[in-house]
């Protein structure tokens, strides 16, 4: 039973990873994505220190986009179950922002699907991250799916 959720509560990785343990599976690969303190600017190479993060989502669309991703993942990989939970609101450094768990009969498919899911989620699911620094803040702008203006 796949699940996709948004929450403002702290995430417990194990409870997401072990919520569904299908009997035909032998491995669950779980991504624990968490708030990074030091971020290197891709263009300038300058390292900035983040004090905390704020995540915001267009919640109904985010859930729909996660559902679409999981549907495609089932078509592309031999996997049995996917769980995605994304945290919203203010996150301290080191706190988990996202958990993606993929259960599969064999680990190879679970690793591949988990990597594909996080990559696609970062491109398509309408969630935004604000980095707050000692001397300012900015909403991080990711890669564009399609550019309209």
């Amino acid at each position: 039973m796949d699940f996709f959720e948004l929450t403002t509560e702290p995430l417990d990785i194990t409870s997401v990873a072990r919520r569904v343990v299908p009997p035909e599976c032998g491995a669950t690969v779980t991504l624990d994505g968490y708030a990074r303190r030091f971020t290197k600017d891709r263009e300038t190479g300058e390292v900035r220190e983040t004090l905390y993060l704020v995540y915001e989502a267009y919640e109904p669309m985010a859930i729909k986009e996660m559902e679409k991703l999981v549907k495609v993942a089932h078509e592309q990989f031999e996997i049995a179950n996917v769980g995605i939970v994304h945290r919203l609101g203010k996150l301290e450094i080191g706190e988990t922002s996202i958990v993606i768990s993929v259960a599969a009969p064999h680990r190879k498919d679970a690793f591949a699907a988990c990597e594909w899911l996080i990559r696609e989620l970062k491109r398509t699911v309408p969630i935004w991250k604000k980095e707050v620094y000692a001397d300012g803040e900015q909403w991080v702008e990711g890669e564009l799916v399609t550019q309209m203006s």
Binding site: G33, K122, V145
Partner: protein, 79 residues
């Protein structure tokens, strides 16, 4: 009935709005609506923007109907 336009993250901060309404003329496309909104809220002009219609990414030539829920936002950065 007008269409609602929602803003999130950067676009909410730039415009100072979480939601506005726009009137919908005949054959208003997503691209034309976005241009009109950027004309009225010029702070958006320096950003690369995406538009959704009824919680789906919109094609440029997609037609907006009365009562639609639009959203305008910058490239996503979740994860």
């Amino acid at each position: 009935m007008p269409a609602r336009v929602l803003f999130f993250g950067a676009t909410a901060d730039i415009t100072g709005h979480r939601e506005i309404e726009i009137s919908v003329s005949d054959d208003l496309t997503a691209e034309a609506a976005l241009k009109e909104i950027v004309r009225n809220l010029p702070g958006l002009g320096s950003h690369k923007l995406l538009i959704s219609i009824n919680q789906q990414y919109a094609a440029q030539d997609e037609i907006i109907r009365d009562g639609d829920e639009l959203a305008i936002f910058t490239a996503v950065s979740g994860g």
